[in-house]
Point group: C2
Chain length 462, copies 2
């Protein structure tokens, strides 16, 4: 039997070219201008699952973008792995900061990726990581080594909050029945040190609108005499943190889990170099909540960040105007036990309460999701760790991530199974940023590692 | 001899149509996309001065947009009036809020303008008001009643800070020599109550840039651990005012003139209805500096307003990003004695000083100008007041305006003459806003009133 290393070596150029074709389709779910492209991407994913060896593949319509479902059932008595991924991508702006167009993938070598990396929106998040599973599955089919049943659920709305996935999962619990859920939509520490994400933050994402006068005004004639919505919005945003960078929303921290000193000491063992971190981001200093270090601030602590702000004249030159309205997109990362819907309510009430007379405020929730913690004593975690240990030659470290995959908590609730987050990306891959890329090493290493997870998961399940 | 009322009645349709043609050219000086249109407008102004009866008209090149100069010298021993105006206009955005396209002028009736108003960008500020002078001059030429010499200086960069006018004035003091400067680029209280602007605020306009990490970051992976430039910018803007809405920049108020209680009591006599003011702007309350009323806040007090803000993701939907940079355009209205260059320096030093570690800040001055006060005992003021009294049947009230015409202070310094601000616009004309308009009544009343100013100015000068 051809082993996975040989198979990857023989087919890697084809694997890369297939991924490049998928990356050329601009499946930006947040922007309706790309809606046909998102639909085209679903078709392409369907075809790839059929070609890889699924017995049955279908495009499942939702109220938004469709979910691609595929399966290969070899024996109902064997365990079933459900692979989740997403084929939609983040918006590519600001376009001018890309060194090559976001939807014209190119392979370039970098310091961290001497074997080359594919530069394109979605290369890592999540088309590239999702496609590793399709190719690992192809290998197991071709070599007749698939040890269990597989189901694929690849959605097109992850980057806009998976708004229609909940209904789909609730209505299809039987179809989606599984023993473990496998997701590659996170990262690992480095190409030398694999890690498995054991915690995810929840998310509440809102948009706020501050309205002052009913029309734009001349700042000379009205300046100083009416509330300027931009100044007021700035003042309201500033009030959301105190001088220690604690969030000031009443009740916000009520359910936040405080880790013990022992747990924090354990976390501090993960390799981290503050000088390199600052250097990589060109920062003269870090910034954050008093009493916590960087790796705690971005994982076990909830946060509030403005993701976008706009109002007034933003063109070339000067315009002496007082805008009628100012806007911001604000997201909060939440830790396990913080309920995102409750937090969204607390934010809304507080934000409206701090608006001064002279303006009106509207808060529109976008989406959200709960945080999640994966137990490291589960069969799934152990199988994943054995797989990484075999391909990397070193055990994986469990880490709590600051990111959010809101559907993980939903899966546990509806499908009663645990999720294993086998990420192969790196923090430096610039996901959600210009010049997103995914290392060729990482892509191929993922394809190598995934069949070993299947093998060990089935063995440990016996 | 045909009197001015008869002349206006006979020619008003032509006057309006000529102005409409001028308004069709989108002379937006702030946006280089319109540069050819700005140049075309200069040509149109030149032609209008020639047609009206100037002996000599020229387009004077500058480092930016040209200045149109025209003159009619009837006798060097007689007084000379220098008319200043501008042919450039403010940007028209947000375009979607215009009820008719900004450069396709239409006449619509409004509650305040039952005889109709011309809706177009620049209709009031300043093409319409500038053109009243051209038509008043035409009348005096046609009826052989011009009592003195006239010079016109119509520039194309007023809306971007008159950046090249200073050099032009300095280099042409002999050509521009005059006994009084006449400008219509302000407003009056109402169509029943004329007023003359006796004070103008100065201006300092800057752009600020806050930079955090060297690239956009995923807010899940980095949120809470690095300074978010948008949050920081909001915090810095919020700090520019204290809880009484005083500006916190050290030294900012050092040269601010404090008016006596008598002077403030005099100001309070101008007609003003706070309920109507709030109703016209759909405001539930006013807002501003503690200790001053609305008509003081927008005239005798300096202010600081954000005119535009932007950063991060501002498109449709949600993007969980921490932006690398955030930006704002900020302007300060200044009162007489505050030096705009000194204030710009104070702002810059202060703004940089309040930036926390973790970000870098850049401040770029755009432009500025000094405030100005016109003495009401001058011959020019008295001539203007007599003219208004004759056409409106009621004397004009002197008012301090919150707006800025930075070149007025420059003219006094270089040309040693006083400026008379004969405005015919109304506050409700929406200058600098969508749906700018200028009443037909106001346009024609201006043409009627201006020749009387010439007459009384020459009489009082004898």
């Amino acid at each position: 039997m051809e082993d996975i290393k040989q198979y990857v070596t023989k087919h890697k150029d084809r694997f890369i070219n297939e991924l490049i074709e998928l990356l050329k389709i601009p499946s930006v779910s947040a922007d309706t201008a790309f809606s046909q492209d998102v639909l085209d991407t679903a078709d392409a994913v369907k075809a790839s699952l059929e070609n890889a060896g699924c017995d049955f593949v279908e495009i499942c319509d939702t109220a938004g973008y469709p979910i691609v479902y595929g399966e290969k059932i070899i024996d109902p008595k064997l365990p079933t792995v459900l692979v989740y991924g997403h084929y939609d991508v983040q918006p590519a702006d600001p376009l001018e900061l890309w060194t090559s167009p976001p939807f014209e993938p190119v392979i370039k070598k970098t310091e961290i990726h001497p074997e080359g990396a594919i530069f394109a929106r979605g290369s890592c998040d999540d088309k590239g990581q999702m496609y590793m599973h399709v190719k690992a599955f192809e290998y197991m089919i071709q070599t007749n080594t698939l040890p269990c049943n597989v189901k694929f659920m690849i959605e097109g709305e992850e980057e806009v909050g998976s708004v229609n996935l909940k209904t789909f999962v609730e209505n299809n619990t039987k179809k989606l029945k599984n023993d473990v859920i496998l997701i590659s939509d996170t990262g690992m520490i480095s190409n030398q040190q694999p890690s498995i994400t054991t915690g995810l933050r929840g998310l509440s994402y809102v948009e706020v609108e501050v309205t002052g006068p009913n029309r734009d005004l001349h700042s000379g004639l009205y300046g100083g005499a009416v509330a300027n919505p931009i100044n007021i919005l700035a003042k309201m945003i500033a009030q959301l943190h105190d001088k220690n960078n604690h969030i000031t929303i009443p009740g916000f921290y009520d359910n936040v889990e405080e880790l013990s000193l022992e747990e924090r000491a354990e976390m501090a063992k993960a390799p981290f170099n503050l000088d390199n971190y600052k250097k990589a981001l060109d920062l003269n200093d870090i910034y954050g909540e008093t009493g916590y270090v960087t790796n705690e601030r971005n994982s076990i602590r909830p946060t509030l960040d403005v993701n976008g702000i706009w109002g007034g004249y933003t063109g070339e030159g000067a315009k002496t105007v007082i805008a009628s309205k100012a806007f911001a997109k604000i997201s909060m990362r939440l830790v396990p036990n913080q309920d995102w819907e409750e937090i969204t309510d607390l934010f809304t009430k507080h934000f409206i309460s701090i608006a001064p007379a002279g303006v009106t405020v509207k808060v529109t929730p976008h989406h959200g999701g709960q945080g999640y913690v994966t137990p490291i004593d589960s069969i799934g975690y152990q199988a994943a760790n054995k797989a990484y240990t075999e391909t990397f030659g070193i055990p994986a470290i469990p880490v709590r991530s600051g990111g959010s995959i809101p559907i993980v908590a939903l899966f546990e609730k509806e499908l009663k199974s645990k999720t294993i987050l086998m990420g192969f990306g790196l923090d430096s891959d610039a996901i959600h940023s210009p010049n997103e890329h995914f290392g060729i090493f990482n892509f191929l290493k993922g394809i190598e590692t995934i069949p070993l997870f299947y093998k060990y998961f089935v063995e440990l399940s016996k």
